[in-house]
Amino acid sequence: MQLTLEFGGGLELLCDSVKVHSVDVDLPAEEKKLTMKHLLAWVRNNLIKERPEMFMKGDTVRPGVLVLVNDCDWELSGQLDTTLENKDVVVFISTLHGG
């Protein structure tokens, strides 16, 4: 499945400072759909190069990270259960505090 993944707010530092990744994610074996839960595990294994604890806590993202599926907060689409479609854009952004 073709997806565009974007990292911002400093999270890109965890994946070689690359902000936009065009990726091809295979459906997990014996599954008919790809959920955010699968995608998070895939991102952690394939894109995160250092300090995975700065990206995830347990099986979800760490506090202070917003997840947006097609420019919409994943809270509105079922969080980890959100089903992804081909060509979806998923944004992971760390909240900023500076000023």
């Binding site: 902000k19 909240t95 900023l96 505090h97 500076g98 000023g99």
Partner: protein, 466 residues
């Protein structure tokens, strides 16, 4: 003798220059106060003598209470069909509080003072520093070392002497927040740390004030309006604070001046929309700004949460708010102070003065600078070798070969004489590096206490700090 005389002369001139600058600033402050008083008297006379059309309730025959001066000053806004007299009148009756007179607060305050807000308050406890000026554009060189609030207030008064400017020269805390915030209609969060953001949001929920929240770091910015018309608050979105390691600061990670400028301008814009009752506020949405790729993205965020500890069904009470420990909650201080680690015992550390002695004695050693390479390019100590902390473990062979070559060139072939020292910016990463070096067998490695900042303070005042 002659060079000594030159030094005396330059110190005398510097002294005179400083005292002239001080007098100039005092005079300018006095001028803006007098201008404001004069303006007040003139506008009173206007409404008493020259505007017989104004009735006793302050509304003219035109159905608004704008004086001729106001009409002229704000004419370009009055000409906007969607803003007009009604928008301006609403704005003139509104009061806005800007918390933080830094990178975000600077443009926000300038625009809010200019546009004709009725009352403009500002909160900050900090003083102006030279390394603020690239982004905190409300402050000038003459105010270095002086209160940011005083500086910002003088700038706002010089733009618009008819706006009431209120100075709060203190940090916002649970003890004073309710009293200060309750005096205003709208709040702008222009602070730079996590505990302040939670404190301000909770206080706005408690008092029912809309909050325009902005943040900027590096080359990115974020903006949202919270607690507006049934929309979410900051805690609905971020119920759990992030780990402290995820809270980067401008003083560590850097920030391009114009980035908070852009976000601060947008904060002023959202506040003006709220105050004038014009347009659609950025509530339930968030604006994400990426300067490097020139991208602005507006995303839909979750609504108000019934479980929210601040605005939910069992929300925060005034008493709970005043007793809430925001520093403990976010595990970071309200006032931004650099971290001071103490990981090593004193026999594994030397002071910058001791290191200076060591150089003067010509004692053979290797100095490793563990800062990131873009820091090293700003400034570094002579003969130091840059191996950033993150790559130290994989680059240990370089450390060994440097030690070997120093020992060989000093003819001490037994291999235990050359010292191994580590330096960084403030003396935290150098301790982490020495711990690692100890673990890898370099048990004699030591770090320089307080890093390059201490070197600049204690040994070489001309050494650049950043």
């Amino acid at each position: 003798m002659e060079s000594n005389g030159g030094a005396d002369e330059s110190s005398r001139l510097l002294h005179e220059l400083q005292s002239l600058k001080d007098s100039k600033r005092d005079i300018e402050a006095r001028i803006s106060v007098i201008e404001a008083q004069l303006q007040q008297i003139q506008s009173n006379q206007h409404s008493n003598n020259e505007s017989p059309a104004v009735s006793s309730n302050g509304v003219s025959e035109f159905g608004h209470d704008l004086t001729p001066d106001m009409i002229y000053r704000y004419s370009r806004q009055l000409l906007l069909p969607s803003f007009g007299v009604q928008g301006q009148s609403n704005l003139l009756k509104s009061s806005i509080l800007v918390i933080g007179a830094g990178g975000l607060g600077s443009p926000a305050l300038l625009y809010l003072a200019a546009c004709g807000v009725g009352k403009l308050g500002m909160v900050d406890h900090d003083v102006v520093e030279l390394n603020n000026l690239h982004r905190q554009i409300i402050h000038g060189e003459a105010y270095i070392g002086k209160s940011k609030v005083e500086s910002a207030a003088a700038a706002c008064r010089s733009i618009n002497s008819t706006t009431e400017i209120v100075e709060h020269k203190e940090a916002l805390r649970t003890s004073n927040a309710i009293e200060i915030v309750s005096k205003y209609d709208i709040v702008i969060d222009a602070t730079d740390n996590a505990p302040s953001r939670y404190l301000i949001s909770d206080c706005c929920v408690l008092l029912g004030k809309p909050l325009v929240s902005g943040a900027a770091l590096g080359l990115e910015g974020q903006l949202a309006v919270y607690n507006y018309n049934g929309g979410p608050c900051y805690r609905c979105l971020f119920p759990t604070p992030p780990p402290t390691t995820a809270c980067q600061r401008c003083s560590d990670s850097g920030v391009l001046g114009v980035v908070p400028g852009v976000i601060g301008c947008l904060q002023a814009l959202e506040a003006i929309k709220l105050a004038s009752l014009v347009g659609e506020p950025l509530s339930g949405r968030m604006l994400l700004f990426d300067a490097l790729s020139a991208k602005v993205r507006i995303v839909k965020i979750r609504g108000r949460s019934l479980q929210c500890e601040a605005c939910g069904e069992n929300g925060l009470t005034q008493q709970q708010f005043q007793q809430f420990d925001y520093e403990k909650f976010t595990q970071s201080p309200l006032a931004v102070a650099p971290l001071k680690l103490k990981l090593l015992t004193s026999d594994s550390r030397i002071s910058s003065k001791e290191y200076d002695e060591l150089i003067k004695k010509g004692s053979p050693h290797v100095l490793i600078d563990v800062r990131p390479s873009h820091h090293y390019k700003i400034t570094s100590l002579p003969k130091s070798i840059n191996i950033p902390l993150a790559s130290l473990e994989s680059r240990i062979p370089e450390v060994s070969s440097e030690l070997k070559s120093v020992q060989e060139s000093n003819g001490t072939l037994n291999g235990s004489d050359a010292g191994l020292y580590v330096v960084c910016r403030r003396g935290n990463d150098s301790q982490r590096a020495v711990q690692l070096l100890h673990k890898l067998g370099f048990t004699y490695a030591k770090d320089i206490v307080g890093g390059l900042e201490s070197w600049a303070r204690e040994v070489d005042p001309k050494f650049p700090t950043y």
